[in-house]
Amino acid sequence: MAELTFRNAVLAALAQEMERDERVVLLGEDIASGGVFKTTNGLVDRFGPDRVWDTPISEQAIVGAAMGAAMAGLRPIAEIMFSDFYAVCWDQVVNEIAKTRYMTGGQVTLPLVLRGANGFGSLGFGSQHGQSVENWGMCVPGLKIVSPATPVEMVGLLAAAIRDDDPVLVFEHKALYGSKQEVSDGEQFIPLGEARLVRSGDDVTLVGLSITVGMCERAAATLDGAGISAEVLDLRTLVPLDAQAVLQSVGKTGRLVVVEENPGQLGWGAAIAALVAEEAFDDLRAPVTRVSGGNVPWPVARELEAEVDVSPERVVSAVQRLAKH
């Protein structure tokens, strides 16, 4: 048992899988020296320069090279320093990586991981370094999407992503990098597509992902004091989606609040809300509610950030509005 930060959980998963499988190779900007967020510290010393490759600032080349190497039998992991930068290589991600297996009739397999820092968290990174973009990928069949909430989750889910034979985007919330948790010894692995029941409750289901899972937990603790028993689910992965876990929980509680950090105008929460409305309508005792980031490009000044960021307080308010039903 060792206490790991979220950032060292990334490192632990990478090291675990590089140790286990010599086909696992890394590429990205400044990763040999540890990377901007120090998630790859020491890997080049441990595994050598043939396993850890520094690249120019060339996201299309980074992501495309990962795809080509995956087709050739390696299991590459490309670091995208800030997930906002997916926008400069999005063609590679959605037109090539997501589709080539399908459009070749299954001739190629693409066991690759794209990973890096994601998320807002009111850190002052603003519009071009502060977005939560898991929902971008959710529109595109052919991509798996993982966004862990804790260090334990990070080690196990990243390991699973690396072992997966399909392309997986792993999002690491940068506001969580410093969070700590005891991680047990030995090999870590959490299957993709299984939501985590964080906390049982009877009156309302709170569904979170990444940083919003902790917000849901804190909201649930506050709601306890008001006599409201909240169940908290961590989706862990948007694709594959454990829809049954959500439906079963709503079947018990009859109320659903989905909490997502990205702007709500077309967030992943809309997909969750829609499937619950379609498939669990008879279980619902109140309207499905979403708590999302504001529908603006992200600001920087703290007071402005606070205005649009999600928070446990917003979750509590949403639940209290539902409780009237």
């Binding site: 190779v25 120019p56 090279a65 080509g68 590459p76 009739g105």
Partner: protein, 335 residues
């Protein structure tokens, strides 16, 4: 190359004639696709490489079976030249069962991994970084496999080209970039879209590479140039960027008559096309014209018969649309 054309006798014809036969087969194949397109048999666009056959065939002829090649939506010739089964390629174009991409790729995404052809990509320039990845894997695995990446002149103006060539040069990867300069970026002369003389060769020095230009309609010159580049790559001497001059005999796609091309330009290029030239060279080298005529008749009959068979083949089972998204064979995204 294909089962349809390699089976019977050409005992007295050498490798030159075999390459001529390959080019000829591809020419007849593409012409047949053009006709079928006009008959409404091809669902979706078809971009034909008529007149550009020498580059695909010449480059493929210097590769090992385990080498990688990769190309564009104008990629039929490149797949066939590596040995992709022509009947399966045609079935893909005509939307029949047995299509080489199971009906999910169509004309723009012909792929035959079994033959080392890692795909045809329809986003201009997008496959150059992927090609770099194939070559990067060869370097990591120390396999001496070489990657040849074909792309059009229009691709040099998109960012992916520069990122990919830069990274390949920086990492000294075993890759040969082959720019097929067919003079047109879709409907626009490439000369009107570049501020330099040549789309690829003029950019080579930016990546520390030699400016290499070859007559892409001369298959022997293509073989010499690409062969030397492949040898360098295999020895670990890094990438090459070759610009092969050629000319698209028809429009950008089968739907385009290419009427924007000046008549005198079309006429100037017509005698320079690779089949006429290779045929003349074979005759000059002493081959019997009757042998060539027999060969030409055989190829025409093979293509025609193949088209009849494919047209008679069943359509794909609609339920197969739900396969091949994930490595487990399915397409399920939620439970």
């Amino acid at each position: 190359m294909t089962q349809a054309t390699t089976s019977d006798s050409r005992p007295d014809l050498g490798v030159d004639t075999a390459l001529y036969e390959q080019m000829l087969f591809i020419r007849r194949f593409l012409e047949k696709v053009d006709v079928l397109y006009r008959q409404g048999q091809v669902h979706g666009p078809a971009h034909l490489g008529l007149g550009q056959e020498a580059i695909a065939v010449g480059a493929a002829s210097v590769l090992r079976p385990d080498d990688y090649s990769i190309g564009t939506y104008r990629g039929h010739a490149h797949a066939l030249a590596r040995g992709a089964p022509a009947e399966a390629v045609l079935a893909e174009l005509l939307g029949r069962e047995g299509g080489i991409c199971a009906g999910k790729g169509g004309s723009m995404h012909i792929t035959s991994v079994e033959h080392g052809y890692y795909g045809s990509y329809a986003i201009v320039g997008a496959h150059l970084p992927i090609a770099v990845g194939l070559a990067w894997a060869s370097r990591i695995k120390k396999t001496e496999q070489v990657t040849v990446c074909f792309f059009g002149d229009g691709a040099v103006n998109i960012g992916a080209f520069h990122e990919a060539v830069n990274l390949a040069a920086l990492w000294s990867l075993p890759i040969v970039f082959v720019c097929e300069n067919n003079q047109y970026m879709e409907y626009s002369p490439i000369s009107s879209m570049i501020p330099v003389d040549r789309p690829a060769a003029s950019r080579a020095s930016a990546y520390g590479l030699e400016a290499l230009v070859v007559d892409g309609n001369d298959i022997d010159a293509v073989r010499d140039m690409t062969g030397a580049a492949v040898v360098r790559a295999r020895r670990g001497e890094g990438p090459s960027l070759i610009e092969a001059d050629t000319y698209r005999l028809k429009g950008h796609s089968a739907a385009d008559a290419g009427a924007y091309r000046p008549a005198e330009e079309v006429e100037r290029w017509r005698p320079l096309e690779p089949l006429l030239r290779k045929r003349a060279a074979l005759l000059a080298a002493g081959n019997d014209e009757q042998d060539l005529i027999r060969l030409e008749a055989k190829v025409a009959i093979a293509v025609s018969g193949m088209a009849d068979r494919v047209l008679a083949a069943p359509k794909p089972d609609p339920s197969t649309v739900w396969t091949d998204v994930w490595a487990d064979g399915g397409s399920r995204w939620r439970n």
